[in-house]
């Protein structure tokens, strides 16, 4: 796993430093407005204080079906390769009992765009924030972090279409008698991203 990350990081670094992509397309002050829509695949849930539940992987074990996700994001370039902003989304997944698990991520989003030709972008996005979660009658806030990558193709100066995929981590943390239900949950989003840049 560690080797894979190092390899990916090395490739990104090499690509970003290559002469082909040496010149930056974006400037400080440029903006992104992105609308995303797609699916989310339950990846794993690890119950940190409950060996009986242990770790569940993929939809069948997690009793959670593939769901849908949509979001709005707005970012401003603070340097030619870094864009900072926020994203708010809505995710739903039906569970095995045909009830809806709702996740609403509210995050600060930082994008690193090592590849930017004007016609093609490759961005690595990280987000940090909280999610509002609801299931049955239970509502709970959870810290949230995500990392995704998004290659995008631009038609004309403003509009681009990309494919965003990566991993979300949603942490359910209790400090009271529900501590036994503490869990870290990984969800894999696969979404189309329509971007308007200015």
């Amino acid at each position: 796993m560690k080797k894979s990350f190092v390899t990916i990081a090395a490739i990104l670094l090499a690509v970003s430093l290559s002469p082909l992509f040496a010149s930056d397309y974006y400037e400080k002050g440029n903006t992104f407005f992105t609308v995303k829509a797609g699916v989310t695949v339950p990846g794993f849930s690890k119950f940190t204080n409950n060996s009986e539940y242990g770790t569940k992987t993929l939809p069948k074990e997690m009793h959670t079906k593939i769901g849908g996700y949509g979001s709005l994001a707005y970012q401003v370039f603070t340097s030619p390769k870094l864009a900072l902003g926020g994203e708010i989304g809505y995710d739903f997944n039906y569970t095995q009992s045909d009830k809806i698990l709702t996740i609403v991520p509210m995050t600060v989003k930082l994008s690193y765009v090592p590849v930017q030709t004007g016609k093609f972008d490759f961005a690595v996005n990280s987000a940090l924030g909280v999610t509002y979660n609801r299931y049955n009658d239970t509502k709970f806030l959870m810290p949230f972090v995500s990392i995704t990558c998004c290659p995008s193709v631009y038609v004309g100066n403003n509009w681009g279409l990309g494919l965003d995929l990566g991993l979300w981590l949603n942490a359910e943390l209790h400090s009271d008698e529900l501590k036994k239900d503490n869990a870290i949950v990984g969800i894999m989003p696969l979404t189309f991203a329509l971007t308007y840049r200015k």
Binding site: F47, T95, S97, N136, E172, D181, A183
Partner: protein, 334 residues
């Protein structure tokens, strides 16, 4: 002040109270609920009727009607169900009882002008006039003589196996000093004087013995038993823990060997030895370890063979458990 700062402050002032209120509502782990709930949790179970071992079929009353496993065999708006004389009796929201066979075929049944408010799973009906009737296998209900009851109103009706227990008092709010308790023996109500002036929350028959969970006017919970058709009752133990709330009758079952298991709230249960008439209260873990009871209502504990029991929950589906074994209850999928 910059426009962006104003917008940020407004957004934060709107979002923060919302976020705080969300956290306060949490009573059960969300993902623990998700991974422990199987397909049967899709049903909102109002009553568990019976398990047919030969057909491996669970019959239960759901919001949409009566289900045999995942198939609705009798659609309709029913509030109580009873299994008696191999027939299925259903009390509808209109206060009328209808009769069906277990294949879903309707049978003729006469209500007359009676309107009912409750039907116990063992086939006793309480009319709006607070009279007690019994299904008898015939095409109408059989009125149970209430001559031995004083001229009070029935406030509670509890059941276990083939018995019912009623509690009575005069009209108005619950007044412990007025409460009288009667057990129906054959066709005659017999007063249990030892259970007057308390509210009976749990009632379980075990062979020839009877066990009761009571609440008195000073909020003391106690277990009692009787081994002689309730001419006298003896206290087993006072218990500090509160029983599950929002249930008509604290759920319990007799394992046909030696133990009565009484389900309490918060993954706790009590166990009573029928042989020694002793109670162990506040047991945690075991079969109840993975059951999150904070907000759920136990609809029924339905005993099977070998000490096994089906626990039907309103929102969480059906579980199979055995209180004699140190293993968590397993959800039933079908």
């Amino acid at each position: 002040m910059k426009k962006a700062t104003v917008i940020t402050i407004v957004l934060i002032s709107m979002v923060v109270p919302f976020l705080i209120s969300c956290t306060q509502d949490a009573t059960e782990g969300i993902y623990a609920q998700v991974v422990t709930q199987g397909a049967s949790a899709k049903y909102r179970i109002k009553g568990y009727i019976k398990y047919d071992k030969d057909e491996k079929a669970h019959y239960f009353l759901e919001e949409g009607g009566v289900y045999k496993n995942s198939k609705c065999i009798i659609p309709g708006n029913f509030i109580y169900a009873a299994d008696s004389y191999d027939n299925l009796y259903l009390l509808g929201s209109d206060g009328k009882i209808s009769k069906y066979s277990f294949d879903g075929t309707s049978k003729s049944f006469e209500n007359g002008d009676k309107v009912f408010g409750k039907l116990t799973p063992n086939g006793f009906a309480l009319s709006k006039e607070k009279k007690v009737y019994k299904v008898s296998g015939n095409e109408s209900l059989e009125e149970v003589s209430t001559d031995s009851l004083q001229d009070d109103k029935i406030i509670y009706i509890l059941w276990s196996e083939d018995k019912v227990l009623v509690q009575m008092q005069k009209e108005g709010k619950i007044n412990y000093d007025e409460i009288k308790t009667y057990l129906l023996n054959e066709n005659t109500f017999t007063e249990i004087s030892g259970l007057n002036k308390v509210q009976v929350l749990g009632f379980q028959k075990a062979g020839e013995k009877f066990y009761f969970l009571t609440l008195d006017s000073e909020d003391n919970y106690s277990y009692y038993y009787s081994d002689d058709n309730c001419s006298s009752v003896k206290e087993i133990k006072k218990t500090p823990s509160t029983p599950a709330s929002n249930v008509n009758q604290t759920p319990s079952y007799y394992d046909n060997e030696n133990s009565i298991v009484v389900f309490r709230c918060g993954s706790y249960y009590d166990k009573i030895s029928v042989e020694n008439n002793t109670a162990t209260v506040g047991i945690s873990g075991g079969f109840a370890s993975n059951i999150h009871t904070n907000t759920m209502e136990v609809v029924r504990m339905y005993p099977l063979e070998d000490g096994d029991v089906i626990i039907a929950f309103n929102k969480y589906g059906l579980f199979k458990a055995n209180a004699g074994k140190d293993t968590a209850a397993k959800e039933i999928d079908f």
